[in-house]
């Protein structure tokens, strides 16, 4: 049986064809599994390992993170790359799973031999991957918004320099909520870590504004119907603060509409669960007139800066925040700008440290820690930012948008100071 398949003489293959086949086979062998890369030369590309959520619960985010990353890298390369070297993005899918995330970080460090790892969104993947990044001493730049880097629970090799963390986000919106929507707030949030960050940091922030949280209603992640929780909302609630990450959001909004009818409290939500979802989807009518946090606005605004316009054009999103090639493909605009800005932070830190290769990774960490602020412009189209090198965390402006006329219009932009809090960590004391 074996002979029948492999007897070259009988198949009529020429020696040249056979050699080509063998060469192709060898090429295939060398492809992902057993490659040995040669030392980076001065003109060799800077390799950035992109830990992408291509599959799993984060896939919608991951796809747009990838588009944004590719757009930014194209611009960086068109402008001469980093330290005169082109940037090459190597993508590995982490399946939005912390175990696979750690494996992917190891693969970047020891097989692909990338210079750094970048781009993770979901908090559990960041936390699951961080120990591996620390042990392999590879800088790990995440775009996650979780309050994990700034909590001091990770390590010196992990940075979040492109997107504000959730503690800062909720702290910064509290003054506006208290002044414009009401002071008695009921919070509905998912009963897991991401929800706890909202629970733990919004309550003191609203209290500082003379308001109070009258009820906190955690929803278990396995719930698919919310009707039994809605009667727990106190009648004197002025503002319903909702964070419902996950596919349950459409049901949640529909059931909320049925529960309240036309006599509803003010609604304030985080756009996270409606990222990549058309705000005009059937069932979301109840959200009309309500307010949302957005990192970067989904819809083009009248006062958009030139940098913001250029960024949107480069990534390929139209005025409604959907893909320019498919109007139904809604982006994750509130978060994905973080990839763009993080790449420019990496570029700056690599240039500041004269980064040449993996032997300079420690210098790169120190150069990143030395950064203090980023100016609004083409590299930071979402706005100017302050970076805390000890916390490894960036702080920026947040947007509060109102749903009106089937769009999200920005009605308030917080100051950076609104979102500052007392730091709890100093990574610079850890050895490199």
């Amino acid at each position: 049986m074996t002979k029948r398949f492999f007897d070259i003489g009988k198949t009529g293959l020429s020696r040249r064809t056979a050699l080509k086949g063998i060469a192709a086979g060898a090429g295939l062998m060398a492809a992902p599994g057993f490659v040995r890369y040669s030392q980076a030369q001065s003109s060799a590309p800077i390799k950035i390992g992109f830990q992408a959520h291509r599959t799993g619960i984060g896939a919608a985010y991951g796809r747009w993170y990838e588009k944004t990353t590719n757009a930014a890298v194209k611009l960086i390369n068109d402008a001469g790359g980093i330290n005169g070297r082109p940037v090459e993005i190597i993508v590995e899918d982490d399946g939005t799973d912390p175990k696979r995330g750690a494996e992917v970080v190891a693969k970047f460090a020891s097989q692909h031999k990338t210079d750094i790892v970048f781009g993770t969104l979901f908090s559990h993947v960041v936390v699951g991957s961080a120990p591996t990044a620390g042990e392999l001493k590879i800088p790990y730049y995440v775009v996650s918004e979780g309050y994990h880097v700034a909590s001091g629970k990770l390590n010196r090799w992990v940075f979040q320099p492109g997107i504000t963390d959730v503690r800062s986000q909720v702290t910064s919106v509290a003054p506006w909520v208290a002044a414009n929507l009401g002071k008695k707030v009921t919070m509905i949030y998912p009963d897991y870590a991401f929800g706890y960050d909202h629970r733990d940091y919004f309550a003191p922030a609203i209290k500082a504004q003379g308001g109070e949280v009258v009820a906190q209603i955690p929803i278990p992640p396995t719930e698919s119907s919310f009707t039994k929780y809605l009667p727990q909302i106190p009648a004197d609630t002025e503002v319903l603060y909702h964070v419902m990450v996950g596919p349950g959001v459409l049901t949640f909004v529909k059931e909320l509409g049925e529960f309240y009818g036309s006599n509803k409290p003010q609604l304030f939500g985080f756009i996270d669960s409606l990222e990549a979802v058309d705000i005009n989807s059937p069932g979301l009518e109840f959200l009309d007139g309500s307010h949302f946090w957005e990192g970067s606005p989904r819809y083009a605004q009248a006062n958009d800066s030139e940098a913001q316009k250029a960024y949107r054009a480069a990534v390929g999103i139209d005025d409604n925040g959907a893909s320019t090639t498919d109007a139904k493909d809604v982006s994750t605009a509130a978060h994905m700008f973080g990839c763009w800005e993080t790449l420019y932070v990496i570029k700056k830190a690599m240039e500041d440290s004269g980064y040449k290769g993996p032997e300079d990774r420690a210098k790169l960490v120190e150069a990143t820690e030395a950064l203090t602020k980023f100016k609004e412009g083409p590299e930071h189209p979402q706005g100017d930012k302050k970076f805390n090198g000890k916390l490894h965390q960036v702080f920026g402006h947040q947007n509060i948008s109102k749903v009106e006329g089937g769009k999200l219009n920005v009605v308030h932009r917080t100051s950076i100071e609104d979102g500052l809090y007392e730091p709890e960590a100093d990574y610079t004391t850890q050895p490199l």
Binding site: G33, A106, K107, S110, H124, V127, H148
Partner: protein, 321 residues
Amino acid sequence: MSGDGTTAKVYALHAAVIALLVALNFILPEYHHGVLARVLVLAVFAMGYNLLFGYVGLLSLGHAMFFAAGLYGAGLPLYHLGWGVPAAFAGGLGAGFVVALVIGLLALRTSGVAFMIVTMMFAQVFYLTTLYFGEWTRGDEGLVLQQQTRQVALGSGTLDLTNPATRYLLAVALFAAALFATLAIVRSRHGRVLVAIRENEERTKMLGYDTFANKLAAVVTSGVICAAAGAAYALLFGYVGSTFASVQYSILPLLWVLLGGAATTLGPLLGTLFMYYVIDITSGYTSAYMLVVGLVLILLVLYFRKGVLGTMRERWVRWLP
């Protein structure tokens, strides 16, 4: 099943596998070295699963809870109470023992499909418990066990579990311990009774064996082996999170065992290793890599019904344990 010659062959084969794994420590490129360390720990999880599924014929869909019991049993005391590595590992084993004993006492009142459902429900309860106590577990986000806490003082030196070679050799040691424990169990009188239960429980009962006690012992042993894998995972790789208690991690060991060969001592390693590289390589080419995994499983069902090693034993190497 065994003459003296066969016994010698069996032990020689297993010793050779361990020797090969130790030798690979010095040969493998960095990436594959790290991969194999992870795979060995997960293979221990699969071996624990195999003991119950392969030898007793009890199909559990809840083994993630035993792995996670070890993970949290080791991780939480180390993180919150500052326990050392050996105590934390013992904590993981203890947690696995208690969970397996309780679950065994309750779930073994059922059998067949009901056993699958009951174990799955208990595992779901365990998963939700890890989320419920988010104050301590940080739920889905999980906890990082810092590098400096994963070191053991040994005489004048320290054993650093974050050192790749140390980690690899400890993984081999754990794997060897689990392998020989499994081998000893399945070749013992108790092991023969387990196989008899799998083949015909009523007849085994009629012969005077206490099948409940034997099955309970098997659930507890299986649970403790899985917990050892979970505890080792936490201590060697530094992360504890509720994902590991989710249903996905109950199904994975089943797939690994089916691939490698149920009721074979080395099948779990082969299945875990194979599945790792199928995903690792195919995910480099397509995001539909689970489709490839599915195709592999279909081919397996068509051509290797008893898994790779199970089929080999059936057709060629009859003495394979």
